[in-house]
């Protein structure tokens, strides 16, 4: 009941915005800026000729590859840095320095190193999503309550058991938060990365639609689709927060 009302409220806001948009385009008699209906027609065109799915597939593939590599690197690195004081002292300044560099700034170097194929955007996605995950995982280890580590020490468990039964499960909620942030950034970056020189992906669709004859209906269609997929990805990550292994963190 409540969620239905919430949905209604957000749909109402969306509706008002679309009406406003439509009215503005009509009043200003813009020749270039499309009406919502033109955007819908443009999207239909993309769906019919099949290019939309190819673009979505290309973007999702790059995000999946870059994000997967980032997860594989970030989680062990974050655990290691969180657990070993020496590793933290040695690596944290470097990470804190690399972290604020915008992925856009990496574009020239990515092109230099990886050319203009899939590897460049994958690298850019990796570099942008790896740091939030390292930072979250490390912080997760640092905030494990001492009473749990002491209890484990009291029972004299092996290092393996300590990691498997205490450290990893204690940090898992934070890891998932890090993954959610990382995936959000990855999706943000793929579009920018694809605007460079590739011939596929949603970022390419947007730039190409503008360049090939000011098709702003397709530009906006691309933007809306990016937003919707971003929403879906975030919902999927939120769903992970409800898994039984991490639910304890959100109880009470």
């Amino acid at each position: 009941m409540l969620s239905a009302r919430r949905l209604l409220a957000s749909l109402a806001v969306l509706g008002v915005l679309i009406v406003l948009w439509w009215a503005l385009v009509a009043v200003t008699r813009s020749a270039i800026f499309p009406t919502p209906w033109q955007v819908v027609q443009g999207s239909g065109e993309l769906i019919r000729d099949g290019t939309l799915w190819a673009h979505i597939g290309a973007s999702l593939f790059r995000v999946a590859a870059g994000f997967f590599l980032a997860v594989v690197v970030a989680i062990p690195l974050g655990l290691w840095m969180g657990w070993m004081k020496g590793a933290y002292t040695a690596l944290n300044p470097l990470i804190q320095m690399l972290r604020p560099i915008s992925p856009i700034a990496w574009i020239p170097i990515a092109i230099l190193w990886f050319g203009v194929g899939d590897a460049s955007p994958i690298y850019l996605i990796f570099i942008s999503s790896v740091f939030p995950m390292v930072v979250q995982t490390t912080a997760g280890v640092h905030t494990i309550e001492r009473r749990y580590l002491r209890a484990a020490a009291n029972f004299g468990v092996s290092r393996y058991t300590l990691f498997r039964r205490v450290v990893i499960p204690a940090v898992l909620p934070q890891i998932i938060v890090g993954m959610r942030i990382g995936l959000g950034v990855a999706w943000l970056v793929v579009v920018a990365a694809e605007m460079i020189a590739l011939r596929s992906g949603l970022g390419y669709l947007i730039i190409d639609s503008r360049n090939a004859g000011n098709r702003y209906d397709l530009v906006i269609a691309g933007m809306v689709i990016i937003g919707l997929i971003g929403l879906l990805l975030d919902s999927a990550m939120r769903y992970m927060e409800r898994l039984k292994w991490v639910r304890w963190r959100y109880a009470h």
Binding site: N154, G156, R165, P169, W248
Partner: protein, 251 residues
């Protein structure tokens, strides 16, 4: 009675802004095998510091702690600590928590043993529950089961039932006594609750304010189940409270 724990001239200071802060001042006492000893004292007197040293989480500045004659240098499952805040793992189920300290056995055996101890503390039917689904009293039972299952020789209890309401506190004391009658453990109980000490302990040590010294010792010569309202118990309570600087009248 054979000596289980020997605390010999234990001293401990901590660094503070105003120089070293002496917390424990040459504490010496022995605990017999199977004995239940309670330590009462004003808050902040260093009881928990002493317990940290006895469990092996901390080392004394000087003096020694011997368990069965051997110097204690690190924590071990021979002496399990149960503290007021508790430390059951919120990410493990009741059964997984109880199994935590068990090793070197087949998984099935561990589970059977865990279920046995869960049932002993009255948690049967909750094996697959998570701690956040349990009440405060049940969490204490779970913590007790997790400790008992590894068959510790010593239970160190630091205000174990302090966070519970008065009724649940009483119930847990009875539960503890029922279990201790069945499974003999040496127990060192720290509490600020004199009545709890008289209810449970064989002997009560009264600590002075910081730096802690042993100010007085009382035997509790009452058979279980104890009548806490008997004149003798009331008299003992008044005597202990007097040591703590509280005078009660009309006794």
């Amino acid at each position: 009675m054979r000596t289980k724990i020997l605390v010999d001239q234990v001293e401990k200071s901590y660094a503070s802004d105003k120089g070293p802060l002496r917390v424990l001042d040459r504490i010496t006492f022995a605990v017999g095998d199977g004995e239940i000893v309670a330590i009462v004292g004003p808050s902040g007197c260093g009881k928990s510091t002493l317990l940290d040293i006895l469990v092996g989480f901390d080392r004394p500045d000087s003096g020694s702690v011997r368990v069965d004659g051997a110097e204690l240098t690190k924590p071990s499952a021979a002496g399990i600590l149960i503290s007021q805040r508790g430390s059951v793992f919120p990410w493990l189920t009741v059964q997984e928590n109880v199994m935590f300290g068990l090793n070197g056995q087949a998984h099935g055996d561990k589970r059977q043993l865990a279920d046995h101890y869960a049932a002993m503390v009255g948690l049967n039917g909750f094996e697959t529950s998570y701690p956040h689904e349990l009440s405060g009293g049940m969490l204490k039972r779970l913590e007790l089961a997790r400790a008992l299952v590894v068959r510790p020789e010593i239970l160190f209890m630091d205000e174990p039932f302090g966070a519970l309401d008065a009724l649940m506190n009483l119930r847990m004391r009875n539960e503890l006594l029922r279990i201790l009658a069945k499974e003999r453990h040496t127990v060192l109980l720290i509490t600020h609750d004199v009545e709890e000490a008289i209810h449970v302990a064989d002997r009560i040590l009264v600590f002075s304010p910081r730096p802690a010294t042993i100010q007085a010792a009382f035997d509790v010569p009452f058979a279980h189940p104890r009548n806490l309202t008997s004149p003798a118990a009331q008299e003992l309570r008044a005597a202990i409270l007097r040591e703590l600087g509280v005078e009660i009248y009309g006794g």
